[in-house]
Each structure stands twice: as C-alpha cells, then as structure tokens.
C-alpha cells in the first residue's frame, strides 16, 4: 500500500502528467477536508481517497464532491465507492469516461456474467452546464499501472533514521516520507 504522496506520484506516472500535478490537486481537496491530512505520519491512503484525487486530477478541478456522490441511473453504490473498488482491483475495468465540465461518468466493466456492462452515473439534480462538453477517457492500462504502483510502493517510516544506517550506503537505507 502507498502513502498519499506515493499515490499522487503513481497517478502522475499512470496518467503521464507533469511531476507533482496530482499532489497539487490533493492539497486542494485536502484543504476542503475531502481527504484526511496525516502530515508527518506516513499512513496508508484509502482507495476512496485515491479516487477523489484521481477525479480532481482528470477534471482539473477541486469540486469533486458532486462527482463522488453521483449514483447510477439504475441505482447502486455511488461513483466514489465504485471507483474506489476498481482502483483497488482494476482487473475487470474496461473503460472510464468522465465528463470534465459537469458531473457525469460512464464506467464500462466486465460483469458477473463476463459480459460488457456499462453504468451511467449522473447527479441527482441536473446542474447548469455549459454548452460545450469535454470528456476524459481513461483506459484500463491506467488503472492497472496505478494499482501495481500502489501495491509495490516501498514502505516509509516516520521519525529519525536508525543509527545503524549511518554506516550504510544511501541505496540500502530505509526510505523516508518527504514533506507533504
């Protein structure tokens, strides 16, 4: 599992964005209290929080609550919960299309019967939306790369480094969390 910082770096790598892009959005939504602040404590980040950061990054906005609270038209779990599940286990995800200018998303995945299932997420009440539309398509490779990066993130520890590591080379010492 990854810390918040490692998850942000993994999102940048998976989406091929510039360094620290996702971190900037994470800081903005953390300021709103959407994801928890664990400054100085390298705690594992929950999938739901990674989902919030991902949505903020791909929609280039910090107003993610409307997105995360969307429900499928036919009923079911919210978009945030569904996305969090697929971030943790991405192997059945086929395609994700997020409307970047107003809440809305279409999630395509492999269903229980191994057929293609598409779920349309829409907000409960229709907001005023601009006359143009912009859709972000995210393929399965992004989610698979992201899940691998999160699973393979090296453990970080808080506090000072062990004294015995003074005599080790830099490469063999334990990794420390940088400032968030």
């Amino acid at each position: 599992m990854a810390t918040a910082l490692q998850a942000c770096q993994a999102i940048d790598d998976a989406l091929r964005l510039q360094h620290k892009t996702a971190e900037g959005y994470a800081r903005r939504i953390r300021a709103q209290g959407i994801i928890p602040a664990t400054q100085g404590k390298p705690e594992h980040i929950a999938s739901a929080d990674i989902a919030a950061i991902l949505v903020a990054t791909v929609t280039s906005s910090a107003t993610v609550v409307d997105y995360l609270d969307m429900r499928p038209v036919s009923g079911g779990a919210t978009f945030g919960e569904t996305l969090a599940r697929f971030i943790a286990k991405p192997h059945d995800l086929l395609d994700l299309r997020i409307d970047a200018v107003a809440p809305g998303a279409v999630l395509t995945f492999r269903g229980h019967d191994h057929g293609v299932r598409a779920t349309t997420f829409m907000p409960a009440e229709s907001p005023q939306r601009p006359a143009f539309s912009r859709e972000v398509h995210i393929g399965p490779d992004v989610f698979i790369n992201l899940a691998h990066a999160i699973a393979a993130a090296p453990e970080v520890r808080a506090g000072r480094r062990p004294l015995r590591e003074r005599y080790r080379t830099y490469e063999t010492t334990s990794r420390f969390q940088e400032n968030q």
Binding site: P72, V73, D95, T108
Partner: protein
C-alpha cells in the same frame, strides 16, 4: 511498396454500433434541450415582475397586453414538473442506450482486432528483425572502437564517438527486454533471437 492495412471503422464491423451511437447522441441532445429549457424557466421564474396574479382575463378587462409569464402563473411550474418527469425517463433510456453502445463497441473491436492481428504480428516481427540488425551493426561499430582503443589510438578527436549505448542500453539490455516481451506475447520465435540478445 508496403501494402496499407485498412482498419475498419466500428460502424462497419458491427451493424448495431451506428444505430446505438446515433440513438445515444439523440437522447443526450434531448436531455440537453430539457436542461436548457429548465435553466430558462428558472431564470424567468426568478426574474418575474411582481403582480403575478394578474391573469390574462384580468389583463383583457384592463385592456392591457398579456404578459406571457403572468398569463398563466402556474405555467412555468407545470412545465418544470413535466420536464422533471421526462428527465427521469430520458436518464433511464440513456442508461440502456449506453449499455447497448458499450456492448456493440466491444463486439466490433473484437472483430476488427482479429482482422488486424496478422498484419500487427507482421509489423512487430519487422521491428524485431530491424532491432536485431541494428544491434549487430552497433556491435560491429563497438568492435572497431575497441580495436582502436587496444592499439592506443587517440581517435575521439577526429572521429566523434557515435556509440548508441544510451539507445540500446547496457549490453543491448533494452532490446533484449523488448524481444523477451515479444517472445512472451508470441510474436517472435525464441530461436530466431541471437544468443547475446536472448534472455
């Protein structure tokens, strides 16, 4: 002259794709129309002049022109209600149409991928052959520079070093990694890879 492979459009590969796409576009356009109308109605509702109770009959008695909003004070609300119910139906229809489009897209994609598979494999094989040839050419260049080095010749001044180690990787490690992936995917026969590039 290389033959151009035609990748068919999704519409050609699956007859159900084009109608499903058109239907979804039409439903989305309808939803957008309703949303626009709602915006307009809400704007009119919030900007309505005072004296909304003056109906058309009263206005006619007064000999005044009938204001459309004031003529039927409940017209806007009723229209909003009607729009809300048709939005519920449209959303359900969009959900089903999206499902149909996704099914058609994946079915058509599978057909097209099967058609293109042979050409894809040919091109991957061509890349593999070119990479092996490039590796051998590079090895010959390295052989020459090593001989120059062995004889203690100061060659780098007059012959600018053009070693491509950064591209090929140490001991052509990048090429051998790519070739291994191609072997695992079944595009390249393992026996056709030279010993020094085999992993």
């Amino acid at each position: 002259m290389k033959q151009k492979t035609i990748v068919r459009a999704l519409e050609d590969a699956d007859p159900t794709y084009a109608p499903a796409k058109d239907l979804l576009a039409k439903l989305k356009a309808n939803l957008a129309t309703i949303d626009r109308e709602d915006d307009d109605l809400r704007f009119r509702l919030s900007n309505r002049k005072p004296g909304a109770e003056k109906t058309s009959r009263v206005a006619a008695l007064l000999g005044e022109e009938v204001d459309e909003d004031n003529a039927a004070p409940n017209g806007i609300s009723e229209r909003l209600k009607a729009n809300a119910s048709s939005r519920v139906d449209l959303r359900a229809a969009i959900e089903i149409a999206t499902q149909r489009l996704a099914t058609a897209r994946h079915a058509a994609s599978k057909t097209i991928c099967e058609e293109v598979r042979k050409e894809y494999a040919t091109r991957v094989k061509a890349v593999a052959d070119a990479l092996v040839a490039a590796h051998q050419a590079h090895a010959e260049l390295l052989e020459l520079t090593e001989e120059l080095n062995d004889r203690d010749i100061a060659w780098t001044g007059s012959l600018p070093p053009m070693l491509a180690t950064a591209i090929f990787g140490h001991n052509s490690g990048r090429i051998s990694g790519w070739l291994k992936d191609a072997v695992v995917a079944g595009f390249v026969d393992k026996k056709s890879i030279p010993q020094e590039l085999a992993r």
